[in-house]
Amino acid sequence: MIHNPSFLSVMIFGGFVAFTLALSFYFAAKTKSAAGYFAAGGQIHWFVNGVAFAGDYLSAASFLGICGTIAFYGYDGFLYSVGFLAGWVVALFVVAEPLKRLGKYTFADALNSQFQSRGITLAAGISTLVVSVFYLIPQMVGAGSLIKPLLGFPHEVGVVLVGVVVVLIVATAGMVSTTYVQFIKGSLLVLFSGILTVMILNRGLTVDTTELANSPQTMVIKKDGTKFINGIPQGQKEGQADLRSVGHLSKLPGGKTETGPLGPVAYLAALQNSEVVLWSKKETTSAEGDKTMTWTPQPTSGAQVLKPGNSPIFKGLQKDQLFARLDFLSLMLALFCGTASLPHILIRYYTVKDQTAARLSTVVGIATIGVFYVLTLFLGLGAMTSGRLDLTDSNMAAPLLAKSFGETLFAIISAIAFTTVLGTVSGLIVAASGAVVHDLLTSVLRWDLNDHEKVRIGKIASVVVGIFAILLGILFKDMNAGFLVGWAFSVAASANLPSLVMLLFWKRTTKQGITAAIFVGLISSMVWILLSADTFQKVYGYTADQAATLAKVPFSQPGLVTIPLGFLTLVLVSLITTGTRTNPASEQDTH
């Protein structure tokens, strides 16, 4: 679809970016030491840190990806919401306080606190870099999706713009500016999601039975890039056409045509008893290389929309397919275990003063994030029935939902969504630059750096990671942000969680066991992903049937195999090497 930028959107967006940059430059003058740059000197208040957790965690995947998946397929997107929130239980009850106790700047600090092993630091540093890069991809893709309707620029310009702004934020004041950008973003995201939800409920549900709303649509993309909509050249001038926006109900309970304002429970109950028009997509490529996409309306009962198994990712759940079920279990396990394994989340524990503050900030984080995830179901279903969905871009569902309430709200929500990307990408780049400077250069390569040099190299590392993120954001532009984040969680959970948990709860853990578990978890999960049907289809460009034949692993999500493999590796290697290393817990007692 062609989206026209508005002056108001550009002004609000520009105001947000200017404010975040001004904040960063203000803090830059106050952040001189490595402790200040990488961990905000441990002086962030627990409440600010808690909301910043939300700002860090509620990424483009949560806001754009989940809302888009719910808007296109119904309940399946909400499964991500549940999994993402559940992961915080592991973070609070298992990881938060010990991590704060053991670490200083990076995730590797905590793992290595009792061993002083270069192998552990190398493994954890590499793992941090890989997970951060995996997580960066969907954020940058989300940024590109946003910039098209907001400013009218192509996807690539959006990705470059986010990259430049984020590098400026991180390179100026590191964790301090990142924390406050995340705090502001977390607050605004939850506040405006709440406002949007109230407006959705106040609007209620209406039926659209017009012939036009229920007609199929076709887009042909010629080999030279020109596009035709229903046989007419795409454009907004006379003699041209564009795809229609969609999203409506075809029936309401009791034969009504509109409900009027509804409460939250009544809204969901009414939708469950209605009929919603979803759109199925069919894609073919001719011998000449012309690509044809056809969208066909599929009237679907609300009860079907609000149960699992409608999306391409989870459709096997309703077909009694064992591997589809294992794929689902694998994803939900990765979401549960992944949160407490994400380096950019873990380093937030070093920005508060003590374990009590770590605990309290996690509780604030869970409350803020939990409220947001409850709202995602209303936002997604509101987008599904808003009449504003862009069939070519699920990531745009939430901003376009806001547009259905007017240009001002669209401008604000788009700017918040953009700040969402800024907050998360900033955190990821701080984590990555910390791993480069503190883990790889100082600890592994034994570079003798003073505080000033650590900060300077950290800033250079931020720029390099930022450029890398820009390139990946352009390369993966057509993928759903929520789906991509699932991969990042799988890699993080497979590589990091076994070591972290076993270090805390198994006294026979050795440094060789930790190093091996990280490398095995990291490599096995990445190889699994690269050989999966999803990757063959969505990255290598094969059709679904070809991808299913070419895939070398039985299901696409690796966690169910690679997380236990990480634990198993750690136990076996620790048992084998236990003679070379005394029990760290008992050794600590003797010192």
Partner: protein, 89 residues
């Protein structure tokens, strides 16, 4: 803006190992409770998705009620944990 000078690191806290062990024990119990509830949700979705269509209350199906419940229970257990950890020895 006093309090926003983030240059120096905060001094390391003095830890009470007995309190830390107690908190870890509470954390593990609450974690296992949540794991059981989450496991039930994932298992039902994976192996009996048809049960998620049942509408036990408020005109909402089990999928929606159970999903919301998991989010609310996580928040409630977090508060319980906070309360347990605040109690002095």
């Amino acid at each position: 803006m006093a309090g926003l000078d983030h240059g120096a690191n905060f001094p390391k806290e003095v830890e009470d190992p007995v309190l830390s062990a107690r908190n870890a024990r509470y954390g593990m119990i609450l974690f296992l409770i949540y794991l059981a509830i989450y496991g039930g949700f994932v298992g039902l979705n994976a192996f009996r998705p048809d049960l998620m269509e049942l509408t036990p209350a408020w005109g909402l199906n089990l999928a929606v009620i159970y999903g919301f419940a998991l989010i609310v229970i996580a928040m409630a257990l977090a508060l319980v944990y906070c309360w347990l950890c605040r109690a002095r020895r």
